[in-house]
């Protein structure tokens, strides 16, 4: 079904249906599921990240202190790669909803822009994780 009509998809607050040009109802459903599944994963990741941030500022924020704790930490790299994947799914879908509801952007071009953003976040996020946990090649 083309041009599917879905619920506001915000946080249950939007009463007005939002029609997304060129997006099927099935795709909208999968995006909703992906948003919630990534949110559940992010809840755990962000909690660990917040504790790590507070620990890091408490124990010294110098390049040496940070890299000494992170370099060669394969578990850390695996964790942050998963974190980045969840971000790359969650943030673009959230921005997509925002663009639809606040900017009225509901053309197919929105889906393309959001896809590019998701890929960029994933690639640059992995690069950042590699830089911190694996270091210069």
């Amino acid at each position: 079904m083309e041009g599917g009509v879905v619920s506001g998809a915000g946080q249950g607050y939007a009463a007005r249906p939002v029609a997304v040009s060129g997006t099927s109802a099935k795709t909208e459903t999968w995006l909703w599921i992906a948003q919630r599944a990534s949110a559940a994963l992010l809840a755990l990741c962000v909690l660990v990240h917040l504790v790590t941030i507070i620990y890091a500022v408490r124990h010294g924020l110098s390049g040496a202190a940070i890299l000494e704790r992170t370099q060669g930490n394969a578990a850390g790299l695996a964790f942050y790669s998963l974190f980045v994947l969840a971000i790359a799914v969650h943030a673009p879908i959230g921005l997509r909803t925002l663009c639809q509801e606040w900017l009225g952007w509901r053309t197919a071009s929105l889906n393309w822009c959001i896809t590019v953003l998701a890929l960029a976040l994933f690639v640059f996020g992995l690069r950042a994780g590699w830089a911190v946990f694996a270091g210069p090649a």
Partner: protein, 115 residues
């Protein structure tokens, strides 16, 4: 209900706005965060240059705000997941207060360790 000020004069609407704006701010911050961490590829010295820049009071203030926004997005998101996926219980009415309190506590814990 008409979507006017009466619908918005409610804690749940403010919670929605905080969740959305914090998500937007975090999304804008993410590329800069990834870029900054990527500087480690150029060695420890480059990372130190960046870390020295973050020692400015205004940057520290911005960092604290970001931690607060991240915590608010986390706790607000957990509240939404509970509302959407758990059977309705009376205690869910007070989730908003718990979410705000936990977010503020996280922001404060960061600030106290930063300064």
């Amino acid at each position: 209900m008409k979507n006017d000020y009466r619908a918005r004069n409610h804690p749940a609407w403010w919670a929605f706005l905080v969740h959305r704006l914090s998500g937007l701010a975090l999304s804008i911050f993410l590329p800069f965060h990834f870029w900054a961490l990527g500087q480690a590829l150029q060695g420890e010295a480059r990372l130190n240059t960046l870390l020295r820049w973050t020692e400015q009071p205004l940057v520290k203030f911005a960092e604290t705000m970001l931690v607060l926004l991240l915590a608010a997005h986390l706790t607000g998101g957990l509240r939404l997941l509970a509302l959407e996926f758990l059977p309705w219980r009376g205690w869910q009415k007070s989730l908003l207060g718990w979410a705000a309190g936990a977010a503020l506590a996280a922001g404060l814990a960061f600030l106290l360790n930063l300064v």
